[in-house]
Symmetry: D2
Subunit: 133 residues, 4 copies
């Protein structure tokens, strides 16, 4: 499990007064990339190795400007060429569950534009972060 | 079924050269709101009646700056207090399937902060747009 | 002069109920790129020839979700390696002035990462769009 | 002077590989709001007291994904109903100047939709942060 925090920016809210639904995917991307960095993945666009195949978010409570959100990141499943990563967003003070998200990430070669087998080292790192472990 | 088009903006791309995953949810929101407008829903924030409970996107092909995307919107399911709306994004010239999305929308009273029963007129409109009809 | 329209998206508003200040720069970018396209500039990232050196916006009236904005684009000044482009955003129905913007654009070679002299054809096109002409 | 840092998010870049010009205004807004918070301004939308009248950015060097940016915030000028705030963005490691920004902020009553005189306490706080002091 990997944990990080974001503070809601003004421009991430919308006219309903709460965080716009599209902003949650910014937070998931942010948490995911910090997780990749922790994994030792190069933070270099020219060597980028991952592409999002699918992503979703369940919105459980509204959240607001300037709120500090806690994001927990888990690995759900590790396949041969892809893995499923999940996130849980809670209010950092009360612990109230705000959103749950998930993404399927494919190991992808941007030069050949084809998916590839996950390297063993990556697979092992991911497996050691499986939610239930 | 409701159909609309968007042209990909420069700032909706990312350093990988393609549309960033978060931008697709902007397109779904745009298509959804045009559908609400067609339904006769007031385009007035103070009378806003809907909240997103869940949303997802499957990314099937990458898309790029300045590409014209066709978005088809369908209703999948109509419940008592919520409904499921889906979208299919294709390239407007070649018809290549780029993304499929879905959202669960709850009929919501922002004054009381509670969900409510969908009005009959809305239910009927939604049912007449069920995908298989 | 070049003219285009945008309809304000939900996610471009903020919790104050109006369009967030950052969204206006999305509209300016959109108008600018349509102007580049009209000029015959390749809409191809790998051949991209322009970089923004400076940009500003004066906010004269608030604008809101779903409002249709009219954007007029002018050329203010043409230099040897750069030019100044300006925009005027009005409400498409009432004509109320909402925002005025400006950007200094440099003719830029992304391979060498250096500015270059504006080609004569570009200069002529730009000069024919000078505001006062 | 107030100082803060942001780490560039993936979705804040564009297909040219660098930070999109619109994203800098997100950073300025972020720095400005942290400055307001330090000033004791309520971080509550319903009591919000400020509106942006004008903003600009000079882009001096490109910046990239995952770069840590240092943002210094200064007060330039204090008027009766408005003030000018400025920002300087540098690379947090090398100190390279990346962007300079400025915004004119009006003390604004969102209920009456009219500007008002800056309270004395706010004026004093602002004056004590004038750049040259």
């Amino acid at each position: 499990m990997y944990e990080t925090q974001v503070k809601v920016r003004f421009c991430e809210t919308d006219a309903l007064g709460h965080i716009n639904n599209t902003s949650y995917f910014i937070y998931f991307e942010e948490a995911r990339i910090q997780f990749f960095e922790k994994m030792g993945s190069p933070m270099n666009i020219k060597k980028w190795e991952y592409i999002v195949a699918s992503t979703k978010c369940d919105f459980l409570a509204q959240a607001y400007f300037n709120q500090v959100l806690n994001i927990k990141t888990f690995i759900e499943k590790v396949g041969n060429k892809s893995f499923t990563i999940s996130h849980e967003i809670t209010d950092s003070q009360t612990g109230t569950l705000i959103a749950k998200g998930e993404a399927v990430i494919v190991y992808f070669n941007f030069d050949t534009q084809k998916s590839e087998l996950l390297p063993d080292a990556v697979k092992q790192f991911l497996q050691s972060h499986i939610a239930s472990v």
